[in-house]
Symmetry: C2
Subunit: 332 residues, 2 copies
């Protein structure tokens, strides 16, 4: 791991005393005493590489708990690995510390890394620590493994495939509203549940092996259900038909809907759900759903892949065609 | 590759029109249409993973040419791979764009990436693009390969090993002074040469195979010759004896020395040289030097590894013991 020679001398101390202990059981990290890590890739496997960065004031608020900022950083990357069917191996962290970042803040951030490293097996192997005068940022590169040739891609969706989503949709949007104090009148239970989901998404890693067995294509829902389905359709050169009445909403999200705090359009367009969207051949759909339940995950069919010329259609809760922007679809 | 859903819609366009063309010959990148890249590691090799981030106003100035900012980002990471004896494979880029970053600025940045991707074989495979309200940052994770078990580490230096450095030392410091307008009276030729070395370091990749054959340990000189030798000695649990009169200085650096613009202490303590420091068993030192010349690189012996209890000694140009801070040695 390297440190910024232009930052305070505390950087080397930070690596040695706070970060190096995280690598006690990770020989690849070389105790963070080198500039590089050395990884012996698992035989017969491909490496899956992904990278997501988070920026203070953009992806999180300075007032957010530092443990949870670290955990969200780990989990948005783990969510990408999950959707590709990969098993987490390790990660490199670039930490850009804001001015006047305190040691207790850093210690709390590192506790968050430690907790999720333990929970999900994404082990810290190296990185860089620098000073960031304009505000903190953290960039994580995550590595996972899949058996050779089995990565689940965005491309590959076929006409008549069933579109599934894991868990529930819209909790990310609802949690953000709670965090921004835009949810007056929502019950305390709902507020807590949604805020927790927003801050601590649940990467669906246990779905990975099933995606490799069943899915023609998959993507994690980070930009919003409709936008990410749009990305997948664009890359696969197909269209889609989504029924909003089949989209799984949590109790907290439904409470906000019934109180007029948000609309179903908000929920299927908002980001930060970090669920998995997968398309499954129709004759395998039931078995996929059953096998997912056996690993403790509910997956819900929300629509069908159609031919590209049949377009991208969203049916509102009354079954009428709705006009919803689906950004990714337009751009690629 | 992923884009920030909270940034301007231009991000998807940026990936598709500016970055994706860089991956035309890199199947691992999946055309940047996925959130992840897929890398089939070379059989019988270990992967070397490194990560360096650069921040506007810390590691470069906003007024620096964007091509060269991108190239420096690539090269500081390539320098780490070079010192580990690794062959470059690919990289993931996190780009945090400052407010009001223009399209021409981004195009120039991408031209820099393209040029160095071509020159050094470090191919873009994926990443993330986000908005950075507090100022730009760029984080690169670079991957290289070495034959299994052959990574050159910081640890492993032995008493009596000869300490070699590649190229010249102090050009990074001199170039920074030129950039900061702290080099009044230096000739135009020297200014240009030093500034170019500061902005465009030369990763010593051709030394990699020789390091694997000859070196007990190696490190790239990024924090300064003395500091990085200190890191290597600390990790290897040895001491060192360095003769400043043997440290190779360029013509430009010598001109500044003779004009009193800087001292030898500045030059051996300043960062950003990105040369390789390697320790070689004494009976192999001459052959190492000869073989380096055959691949077009000059390497110079600047001292000797001694026992830890004999300490860390720098002999000044008159052969007297000098007092130089060597940060890394104190911290680990």
């Amino acid at each position: 791991m390297s440190a910024d020679d232009q930052s305070s001398g505390h950087e080397f101390d930070l690596i040695a005393t706070l970060l190096a202990p995280l690598t006690a059981h990770t020989p690849e990290a070389l105790g963070l005493k080198d500039d590089a890590a050395v990884l012996q890739p698992p035989v017969g496997h491909d490496l899956i590489l992904t990278k997501d960065a988070i920026v203070e004031g953009v992806h999180y608020l300075r007032s957010d708990p530092p443990e949870q900022i670290a955990q969200k950083l780990m989990r948005v990357n783990l969510s990408d690995l999950a959707a590709k069917g990969a098993k987490p191996l390790g990660c490199l962290l670039a930490a850009g510390w804001a001015p006047k970042t305190t040691r207790p803040w850093q210690e709390a951030f590192v506790r968050g890394l430690a907790a999720d490293q333990e929970a999900f097996g994404l082990r810290l192997m190296g990185g860089d620590t620098v000073s960031a005068p304009g505000g903190a940022f953290f960039s994580l590169s995550a590595f996972g493994a899949v058996p050779h040739g089995e990565m689940v891609q965005r491309t590959g969706a076929q006409v008549d495939d069933v579109i599934f989503v894991s868990g529930t949709i819209g909790d990310g949007f609802g949690g953000l509203q709670v965090g921004l104090h835009n949810a007056d009148g929502l019950s305390a239970d709902a507020c807590e549940a949604l805020l927790t989901r927003y801050r601590l998404p649940l990467p669906r890693l246990s779905l990975g092996p099933l995606l490799r067995r069943f899915a023609h294509a998959a993507i994690d829902v980070s930009d919003g259900l409709i936008a990410d389905l749009g990305h997948l359709c664009a890359t696969s050169e197909v269209g889609a038909r989504v029924r909003v009445e089949d989209v799984p909403f949590s109790d907290g999200v439904c409470e906000g809907l019934s109180k007029g705090l948000w609309s179903w359009q908000d929920l299927v367009s908002g980001g930060d759900d970090y669920e998995v969207l997968a398309v499954i051949p129709p004759d395998r759909a039931l078995l996929f759903q059953q096998e997912a339940l056996r690993v403790g995950l509910s997956v819900h069919p929300v629509g069908t892949i159609v031919a590209a010329q049949d377009g991208f259609n969203v049916l509102d809760p009354e079954g009428q065609y709705a006009d919803i922007p689906h950004t990714g679809y337009q751009h690629f």
